[in-house]
Symmetry: C2
């Protein structure tokens, strides 16, 4: 568990959660357990996705994947235990009320389970080597990577005591953010610099994966991304948090080169 | 997910939970979500334990195991999704208060995680083909199978609004129950009837697994079991629930032939 958690990574999900909570004026200490739980879920999903039966990857963040460093059984159990611990630490956090703990465990479970991240992973596997439509592609990404990013945004706004209307707005913004992130990922696989990315470019084409540039062309993909960036910016203005670290972060993510 | 949940099995953990709650006078509907969550955790652990990287079993409850019926990736994801759903359904249950939801998710996570069931499974794998002491054997069983059985008892008493002292007593009873169950399992592997058990006898010896009969002799193992049965009965008397379905169930479990 510690090996994979300490392997690094961008910590994007916890940072987004904390930046959103900050924009809503929450006390930072109220975000800590949930931010850690979110990173545990992300990490467990990477450990299991890397297994030979799934993506069969030997390297992750420049280090041997869990099953390469230890063995497959250990990797499966480390993932199971991280997933289990994520619920535990939210329910144990003394800075949250019971109502907050229940909301956060419930929404995190929904985002990561059989109608969320796990379903996205399953559909992604089933669609490999198949021609899929733009609608199906967005549906896969909305679940596979989008749900945890959306949870980061919604959880931050909730901890910051956003109103029901603001939570609804931030939910839509979180969905847009997931798609911005994914489209830029696809674009970088075509135009990116392998050194900066730390992984080879062109691998989507090699893996016969459907991508935005493939379905819309490179310019079409950039336009689609700009559409979601605008949508996100409009929401931040509406909720009156356009002058925030969160706003800068979203702009940065849409232009990132790795 | 449904394939493995519907494959049957004794439903022992939900039944123990509901029998305990009943002995404490709880409304049955308050046990439903937690009982289902508990069976989901048990089922996910069987799906993952059956994988080629772990016990590599082809059959479970007379049917192909999940990875045989589908494939390994599907089995891993079905297990992950069942584990995730267990937290979700407890937090969504309308018959429980937020305080109850938090207590139950927290205790179930602790029982099934890195200091509970998952640790027991890990230690069990690490101790295969090794000579271990009785103390180490009890420690493995207390975690691997005992934690979920203990949770069933404690959760039932909690939903039935047992006092803190009663919960402490029932925790000890739950631990004893786990060991009763395991010792009888080991005894049946020596003296049992393969037809009634639905699995071959003598497999522990073949797998070089340490067992109670092996460490204490068959009579010693029976004595050890009787010791825990007495302890359980004393607790039921003390808590004043010795005239209950739970009491009959524990007696039955200690004498079961399959």
């Amino acid at each position: 568990m510690l090996y994979s958690i300490k392997a690094g990574g961008k910590r994007l999900r916890p940072i987004l959660l904390m930046a959103t909570a900050d924009a809503f004026g929450a006390k930072p200490e109220k975000t800590m357990a949930v931010a850690a739980a979110l990173e545990m879920i992300h990490t467990y999903s990477l450990i299991h996705d890397d297994l030979p039966a799934m993506d069969n990857d030997d390297l992750r963040r420049g280090k041997p994947t869990s099953h390469k460093q230890f063995d497959e059984a250990t990797a499966i159990l480390a993932g199971d235990a991280l997933l289990t611990l994520s619920s535990q630490i939210i329910t144990e956090d003394p800075t949250l009320t019971d109502a907050e703990r229940v909301f956060l465990v419930r929404e995190l479970s929904k985002a990561s389970g059989a109608r969320g991240m796990v379903e996205g992973q399953m559909q992604d596997m089933l669609s490999e080597d198949k021609a899929i439509t733009l609608e199906q592609l967005e549906w896969i990404h909305t679940n596979k990577t989008g749900q945890l990013l959306k949870f980061a945004i919604v959880a931050g706004a909730y901890i910051g005591e956003g109103s029901p209307e603001q939570l609804a707005d931030m939910t839509k913004m979180g969905e847009a953010l997931g798609l911005i992130f994914q489209i830029q990922d696809d674009i970088l696989d075509v135009t990116g610099d392998a050194d900066k990315l730390g992984k080879p470019v062109g691998s989507d084409e090699g893996n016969h994966k459907s991508t935005y540039p493939q379905l819309l062309g490179l310019e079409g993909a950039k336009k689609q991304k700009d559409h979601y960036v605008e949508l996100a910016q409009r929401t931040l203005l509406k909720v009156n948090i356009s002058e925030s670290v969160l706003s800068e972060l979203i702009f940065h993510l849409s232009k990132r080169d790795h």
